[in-house]
Symmetry: C2
Subunit: 303 residues, 2 copies
């Protein structure tokens, strides 16, 4: 079974459990709309890959951790798309949840997805009680206060914000949770896998900032949102060329951070693939060429 | 230490853990505003009382379960007060979270409180791994889909709704979680305690409906909201006298449901106290007298 098939099948499971005759049908439909069809499922992929690298021995628990993380991610997208934040019409090329089902159900679908994430972990954790509490802590730290993705989003409501702290929380926290949970689900120490999550998370946010400026987003989201909402952005802070350079260095440090393990090469390959998906090398080169041409034009204008 | 002091001290704990230098200060303030000062804290009281009745042997775990339930309750109030639902200005006599901090922070504070609830349980559960998964399941079932409080709220977005199912989910589910979690935290079977939570939860919702019609709410919420929002209501369905009668029968069945245990009398006393707080006997009698007078007037008008 491919890793993507495994993820999609595992994601179906909590919906099967929840979809009883007593469930409000429109809530269930809104929750499904938020999760299917998905994006790249990079966080669960990462979680499963790390678990394998750590000698996975409890696949149901790994699945639950990966599903929990993806559900938390989807919940955050639903709430971030709502009118009081991005007021986005589209996500992953589809109409956003609040546009399709209304604000009340979008709010509740996000809440219910957060709960579903912890419930999925609780079900699988019953058979592995010693691993449950640390896994739960990892998922909670990646999501809540003080440093999880909800806190990251909340930095947008503060008068002053450090770009690094904002990005580490808003995006990085759930990547760190993905690598650490993968290790914990396999009964391994999560610490050696933190750096990989950290670097990938920051790279992901930088790539997002760059695509938002380039106006060429292929993830089905509207572009130009950072400037429109006055959000902190690496592209605004370092310029496009500086941001691309920073992205490349982050990806290199992600590759270098993979700890020694039998599947180190395969894991590094996954990171490089993800790098290409996030920001294709051709796009990076194009940005560099345009910058050189622009500088030459400016020199000519001055001369 | 009184039970209320114990609850307030336990509720402070997760905020101490979360309130680091890296936390967004306004998010933390919004979360505190949602939780302090509290209302009657009836759910955590119930949880602690059942744990005691079951021979409590892990007070830190009981505290965590009680705190988790109260945080989930507070999160639901924050989201239910938002403009896309009740659009309420006041709660517990104070300005609502979105009125004080804006909609974005209200949305995020609710999310972060849900996560904090599970995190509190995870921390305490590490020392009692065998009890953690069942406790988590109880809290998740009380909150999410298909039958928890979020699903209950979602029934307001459906074209058709059964009053009983709506009330059992919207309010009853977290009362059931309170009694069951109390038993589970003490290592006892939760099943004998379900009926108490069920009856209390429904009684609580019926009392809420009655107060909303009587226009004499003492919980610091605006009144007349059910009719204004076209929500299902026992008072609308059975009339005031019928609703009061139903409330009394529910409270009696709550009293009768308390299982045999050394503190059965004390537990029944707590239920009776709560009944009086929810809907004082004087108010019930007044409604009955008014109904008799009105009927007499109608008879005279006909004659």
């Amino acid at each position: 079974m491919s890793i993507m098939t495994r993820i999609e099948q595992a994601l179906e499971q909590p919906f099967k459990w929840a979809d009883s005759a007593t469930a409000p049908p429109r809530l269930m439909a809104a929750m499904r709309h938020a999760v299917f069809p998905g994006g790249a499922r990079i966080r669960p992929q990462l979680c499963l890959a790390v678990a394998r690298a750590c000698g996975e021995d409890a696949p149901e628990l790994t699945n639950a951790a990966a599903v929990g993380i993806e559900l938390l991610h989807c919940a955050s997208l639903v709430h971030d798309d709502m009118p009081c934040f991005d007021d986005a019409d589209t996500r992953r090329g589809l109409v956003t949840v609040h546009k399709q089902f209304g604000e009340p159900l979008a709010l509740l679908a996000g809440d219910a997805l957060i709960v579903m994430a912890y419930q999925t972990l609780a079900r699988a954790g019953a058979a592995h009680p010693a691993r449950l509490a640390p896994l739960l802590m990892t998922l909670c730290e990646g999501t809540g206060a003080p440093d999880g993705i909800v806190a990251g989003q909340a930095w947008e409501c503060e008068p002053r914000v450090q770009l690094g702290r904002y990005q580490r929380a808003k995006t990085g926290a759930l990547f760190v949770a993905s690598t650490c949970a993968g290790a914990q689900a396999a009964g391994a120490d999560p610490l050696p896998w933190r750096a990989l999550g950290d670097a990938l998370g920051e790279a992901y946010q930088v790539a997002d900032d760059i695509r938002d400026v380039m106006g060429a987003d292929h993830l089905g989201k509207p572009v130009g949102q950072d400037a429109a909402h006055g959000r902190p952005s690496t592209a605004a802070e370092l310029g496009l060329v500086g941001a691309v350079d920073y992205f490349r260095r982050l990806m290199q440090s992600a590759v270098d951070s993979v700890p020694a393990c039998p599947s180190r090469g395969a894991m590094q390959q996954l990171v490089l693939q993800e790098s290409e998906r996030l920001l294709p090398k051709s796009a990076c080169d194009q940005i560099a060429v345009q910058a050189v041409q622009q500088a030459a034009l400016q020199r000519r204008a001055v001369a």
